[in-house]
């Protein structure tokens, strides 16, 4: 048996994923029935049963989705612990690239995180209304998310069963390190332009949230996730590691760096999610939640301050830039 599957964290992770998937599968079956037969204007026994059932099934989905969101950082932690078992891997970067399923799985998990969060918001406004106005919409949306969840569950199984402990993998210095001077940044950017774009996009998200420009908020948030990722890996990360050649998104999740990676990536993903969530709720459902807006602004500001703080502290301590 593959020794990866005997690792405690992997057992806990896969078991949790399986239980949640089974719950979501039951919810999927019930939701299909709901979508087919739902008619709020009908005063039939069947409709009454459907309403009771919908409340139960939405509670199950809510519970499973919240746990799935909590499982994302645990998945990253699991990957990180596997670096002790996989030869050549010094952190999660090598483990995630141990086979072809790793990167698509991580990307899919982040996409599901965003979509699930949106589902939670739609569910929340639907439950507050008296006539379940968005029940059909959120049911169809859940069915779509369930397709992605099925792909994710399959990828989970394929990924963990295909990690070889005999084949050496590349460490992060090979994956993200100096590639002989080739430009690894997107859109032909260099570091100064990347940083300008980073701070300008942050300003644009804040301004668009304040002036309720939903489309601009969504577009700038999506771009900020991409630019933020590259800025952290290729610039801010080097100040976290205090080494100009160390470029890696995973090493900062380890204890030598006080697990700061969880805060960095968590703030970036949650901040942009709340910004997108607020913009979509505002544009399509006309619900203006000042709380969502404040949470987005606070989280993104904390993210930018945290990244910039590392650079500033390094400069004050050493008097030079990396």
């Amino acid at each position: 048996m593959n020794e990866i599957l005997l690792n405690n964290e992997v057992i806990v992770y896969l078991l949790s994923e399986t239980v949640l998937y089974l719950l979501l599968f039951l919810a999927f079956l019930v939701t299909v029935g709901l979508v087919k037969k739902w008619n709020f204007d009908a005063f039939t026994t069947e409709q009454f049963t459907l309403e009771n059932r919908s409340y139960l099934v939405m509670t199950i989905i809510f519970f499973a989705i919240v746990l799935k969101i909590i499982l994302l950082p645990y998945f990253v932690y699991t990957i990180d612990t596997l670096s002790d078992l996989v030869p050549g891997a010094m952190c999660g970067a090598g483990v995630i690239k141990a086979n072809a399923y790793g990167n698509p799985l991580l990307a899919l998990k982040i996409a599901i995180l965003f979509l699930s969060g949106l589902w939670l918001s739609i569910n929340s406004i639907d439950l507050k209304a008296k006539r379940y106005p968005y029940l059909k919409l959120k049911s169809w949306f859940f069915l779509f998310i369930f397709v992605l969840l099925s792909a994710e569950f399959l990828l989970d199984i394929l990924y963990f069963t295909h990690i070889e402990t005999t084949n050496p993998v590349s460490c992060c210095s090979v994956i993200f390190g100096q590639t002989g001077g080739a430009n690894s940044l997107p859109f032909g950017l260099d570091i100064p332009k990347l940083l300008m774009l980073f701070y300008l996009l942050f300003a644009l998200i804040i301004l668009s949230l304040l002036s309720n420009l939903s489309f601009v908020s969504v577009a700038s948030s999506i771009l900020f996730v991409v630019v933020g990722y590259y800025a952290v890996v290729y610039f801010f990360g080097t100040y976290i590691y205090e080494l100009p050649t160390h470029k890696c998104p995973f090493c900062m999740l380890q204890d030598h760096y006080h697990y700061v990676g969880y805060a960095v990536w968590g703030l970036l993903l949650l901040g942009t999610f709340f910004a997108i969530d607020y913009a979509i709720m505002n544009a399509f459902f006309h619900t203006v939640s000042q709380t969502l807006k404040r949470i987005a602004i606070v989280l993104l500001t904390m993210f930018v301050l945290l990244c910039s703080g590392y650079v500033a502290i390094y400069y004050f301590k050493n008097g030079v830039w990396l």
Partner: protein
């Protein structure tokens, strides 16, 4: 008044972002991987560090090991190592006009299928494979080299390295 200021600031920031993106797209400092428009299917002479390898992204610096794939439509892809050519062809299937490599013995451009390969060269990627124009003892054919490369039986494998180099 406050709303006008915020909208004006938003407009200025959007313009600044677009300017940076446009400047970057038009920037020549970015990576260069493909030479387009080579419909005559000629071998393109390049300078060290001018192009990056399409497979491993490294700068092509040691021109003695350089290889090129020229497609029917005139795209030329550059590689720093013959091993990278094999790996790239595993995932890409363009209509190929020519695949050529530099040779270590004669420094000519030779069709990869007509060249012979050593397993113990000091090539940029450390796979050990490099082309020779003239057949010598110990050299292997392209097909054999390709098979060994795809199986991972190159100098990256410690067992192969020990067998071939004794260390």
């Amino acid at each position: 008044m406050k709303k006008i200021v915020i909208n004006l600031l938003t407009f200025v920031v959007v313009i600044a972002i677009l300017v940076i993106l446009l400047l970057s797209f038009g920037n020549d400092q970015g990576s260069k991987y493909v030479y387009k428009g080579n419909t005559a299917h000629k071998i393109i002479k390049i300078k060290p560090k001018e192009y990056q390898c399409s497979e491993c992204n490294m700068n092509i610096e040691a021109l003695a090991y350089e290889a090129q794939i020229i497609t029917q439509e005139g795209n030329t892809y550059f590689f720093d190592d013959i091993g990278c050519v094999v790996l790239w062809l595993k995932n890409h299937k363009p209509a190929i006009a020519k695949i050529v490599t530099q040779t270590l013995d004669t420094h000519h451009w030779v069709d990869v299928r007509k060249a012979w390969y050593t397993r113990i060269a000091h090539d940029p990627m450390g796979y050990g494979f490099a082309a020779y124009e003239k057949k010598k003892k110990g050299l292997i054919s392209y097909d054999e080299m390709k098979l060994l490369m795809l199986q991972g039986k190159n100098l990256h494998d410690p067992f192969v390295k020990k067998k071939l180099l004794g260390k």
